[in-house]
């Protein structure tokens, strides 16, 4: 295996809201340039875990590092592209106005801004809808626009919370092709999902259930170790073993 440098490391991260434990002693390393999938049922703590990385949430205990620097740090935030589970868009503005607003938050302006907007909209196949108001967009289109916004400033790490919900299979395939392209350029992608077949496309997977990381490995490793043929079965084995 080639030498990979560490991109994200999570050390003993726990999080509780009042008495409810959401994350329990998570330890995880993610390498540069890989597509890492966090797989688990809803309510397992996937969103809470990725929010720990974006600096939007602070752990009750434990630390998280990005490129060996402790989070949260405003400097590091610029190297993250975050797409939240809900489409954080201004519905009363057009797609273009949304893109212009978010890109100027990252300091993109003038010609570079125009070029990047064209590039990301091409990638999510929304180039023809730039002038339309977001309130007229379908659910899938909003999802794609959110993705486009996360890509605007060419982040080194992409954190995508359920990016392909409500997107049809054809488009989902083309979005995954875009992920592979980004990966080739050295972008690290962390993606949460509860769709098993999508999990199979990731380089490595983390299975998460009830706030615990129950297994980490490549899809093939996970299947091999549990003597199963699908990730779903592997998940069941790990989930049952943990009980």
């Amino acid at each position: 295996m080639e030498q990979l440098s560490m991109c994200v490391s999570i050390r003993h991260v726990s999080k509780s809201y009042k008495k409810h434990r959401v994350l329990e002693d998570i330890n995880l390393d993610i390498f540069e340039g890989e597509i890492f999938g966090l797989l688990g049922p809803s309510g397992a703590g996937k969103t809470t875990l990725v929010k720990q990385l974006t600096g939007l949430d602070t752990p009750t205990s434990g630390e998280r590092y990005l490129f060996q620097t402790k989070m949260p740090s405003l400097k590091l935030i610029t190297s993250i592209g975050y797409m939240a589970q809900s489409d954080a868009l201004y519905e009363d503005l057009s797609a273009k106005e949304n893109l212009q607003f978010f890109s100027s938050l990252y300091g993109l302006k003038g010609e570079k801004q125009t070029r990047r907007i064209a590039e990301v909209m091409e990638l999510v196949q929304l180039s023809g809808d730039l002038k339309r108001l977001v309130s007229n967009f379908s659910g899938g289109m909003k999802r794609r626009l959110s993705l486009a916004i996360a890509l605007l400033h060419e982040p080194k790490i992409l954190i995508l919370d359920e990016p392909t919900v409500g997107i049809d299979p054809v488009l989902r395939k083309s979005i995954w092709e875009a992920f592979y392209k980004l990966k080739q350029n050295g972008t690290t992608i962390i993606v949460t999902t509860h769709v098993m077949d999508e999990a199979g496309k990731c380089d490595r997977l983390g299975l998460i259930r009830g706030g615990r990381l129950i297994a980490v490995g490549t899809p093939d490793e996970l299947k091999e170790m549990t003597n199963t043929t699908t990730i779903e079965e592997a998940f069941l084995v790990y989930g049952g073993a943990n009980k």
Partner: protein
């Protein structure tokens, strides 16, 4: 630069929402116009009954400005009073004048008494005492209630609408997840608050200039001082409304809960704004006044518009309003720590 991006976005959103923009400008204009018509409709003409008033007295009375009905006996006058045909009657039982009032509406009773007092001949006054001349330090004899209420209402509308619109728009930012998205970007917390302050500040400047100009130049609201000062005060008041609205929006989960702040936060301020005499407010309550922004704004606006004063009279109010804004801005920035520690 990032503050400017936020400002530009907010202004775009306001301009895009034609209905809200209309509400912010047309609604105050409409209400002020109605108030103007309500208060400047002329004086109330009391309806008064005379029962057995000696002819000598009637001849001496100045009966202008009232509808007089003459009754032959007190019984029929009483019946008309009960039917509210007349507001009161004057009777000369035992040669001493007695007035009986209907009395259910204090303002009608007051107008009736006022008329009777000026109409009744006092005997020795005629020809003896010199005519009293009245001079005004401020205002004039034809200054109406509208002129006195006007400055307060001007301030109130600016406060009310800016509080609501800014609060709801920040609430939406939170509930739609865009606030979180902003905090996932390198935007600093103070930049978010400042973006809002500048964006809504620009809009409020335009809004209050239009409303104030309409009230003063179209409705003829009394205006003794400088227009620039009026704008300065309304802008400062709008900033406190804005920063307070943003602050309170974090305690609301939806638009309806934002509305619930109106009777708690906005309406009580009217009591301390000088619409009612501040000296007669119960001591248990009067200490609240200095903690409400409208108290200072109304005081300053009245000093400018009615009394024609300038900087010397209003600078304390300006400091108080600026102080409120700065305090709320600081709390807002601290409150955003809930979402991101840095």
């Amino acid at each position: 630069m990032r503050v400017f991006a936020l400002t530009q976005r907010i202004l775009r959103q306001i301009v895009r929402d034609k209905r809200t923009m209309g509400l912010l400008i047309i609604a105050p204009i409409l209400v002020l116009t109605m108030l103007h018509l309500v208060f400047n409709g002329g004086d109330y003409t009391p309806k008064i009954g005379f029962v057995d008033v000696p002819t000598a007295v009637v001849e001496q009375m100045n009966v202008e400005g009232a509808d007089i009905t003459t009754y032959s006996d007190e019984k029929s006058a009483k019946a008309d009073l009960a039917d509210r045909m007349i507001d009161g009657y004057l009777t000369f039982a035992n040669n001493a004048p007695t007035v009986v009032l209907e009395g259910s509406d204090p303002s009608v009773a007051g107008a009736t008494m006022k008329w009777l007092q000026q109409a009744m001949p006092t005997g020795q006054e005629i020809g003896h005492s010199p005519k009293l001349t009245i001079d005004y330090l401020h205002g004039s004899s034809d200054m109406g209630t509208f002129d006195y209420f006007g400055p307060v209402l001007l301030g109130f509308f600016v406060f009310f609408f800016v509080f609501l619109i800014a609060g709801v728009s920040f609430l939406r930012e939170r509930t739609t997840g865009t606030l979180e998205r902003l905090l996932a970007s390198p935007l600093r917390k103070w930049e978010i608050v400042m973006g809002y302050v500048v964006g809504f500040g620009i809009f409020t400047m335009i809004q209050s200039a239009i409303i104030a100009a309409y009230a003063i130049y179209v409705l003829g609201m009394m205006m003794e001082g400088a227009f620039g000062y009026v704008l300065l005060i309304t802008l400062l008041l709008a900033l406190t409304a804005l920063t307070l609205g943003i602050l309170l929006s974090s305690f609301a989960n939806n638009e309806l809960q934002m509305m619930q702040f109106i009777p708690i936060i906005v309406v009580p301020q009217i009591f301390f704004s000088g619409l009612f005499n501040l000296d007669t407010i119960s001591k248990w309550l009067s200490w609240v006044g200095p903690f409400t922004p409208l108290y200072y704004a109304a005081d300053a606006l009245r000093d400018i518009m009615v009394r024609g004063y300038g900087w010397g009279a209003i600078y304390m109010d300006i400091f108080a309003l600026a102080g409120f804004s700065l305090l709320f801005i600081a709390i807002n920035i601290l409150a955003l720590r809930k979402y991101r520690k840095i």
